[in-house]
Amino acid sequence: MIDAPNLPLWAAILAGLLLVAGAAITLIGAVGLARLTTFYDRVHATTLGATMGTALTLLGSVLCFSVLQTRPVLHEVLIAVFATVTTPITFILLVRAALYRDRAEANDSVPPQ
C-alpha cells in the first residue's frame, strides 16, 4: 500500500515525525475548538492547525517526495503560501462579523464600540 521502498531510513523517520507532529498539533487545535467556551477563544485554538499543523505536514511531504525524486515539490510550496496568506484574512473577516453581530445584539461579553 505504501509506495516507498526506496526511501532511506533517516528520511522515513524524519518524514514520519513531521507528519505525526503536524497531525498532533492539528488535533490539539481541534480539541480546543471543541472544548473552549467562547467564540473568541475558539478562534485562537483553530489557528494552531491552520499554521503549524499545515507547515509541518507539508514539510514531511516535501521531504518524502524530494528524497524519492519522483517530482518537483512546487505543489506543496504553493499550498503553504496559499494557507499562510488566506488564514489571517478569513479569521479577521470572521471575527469582525462576529464582533459586529455581538455589538448589534448588545451582548455583555464584548466591549462597546
Binding site: L19, A30, A34, T57, I79, T90
Partner: protein, 93 residues
Amino acid sequence: MSVIILGLALLVAQAMLALAMALAAWRIARGPRAQDRVLALDTLSGTAILMTLTFGVRTGSTLYFEAALILALLGFASSVALAKFLMRGEVIE
C-alpha cells in the same frame, strides 16, 4: 524497515486527523451560533487538506496535491463568503 516506520506514522497521523475532523464536525452540529459553525467549517476544510496530503504521501501519487490545492481554494472562498454573509446579510452587494 522504512516502509513500516512511514506506514505506522501515517496511520497515527491519519487517526489524529480523523479525530480532529470529528471534533470540528461536532462543533458544526453543536453551534451554538452561526460564527462558531463557520469557524468549525473552516477548520474542517483545513484538516481535510492535511488528510489529503497524508493520503498523497501514502500512495506516492501527485493527484492528491491538486485535490488539496482545490480544497484550499474552495475552503477559503466559502469561509470568506460566509463571513461576509454574517456581516452584511448578503454576499454580493
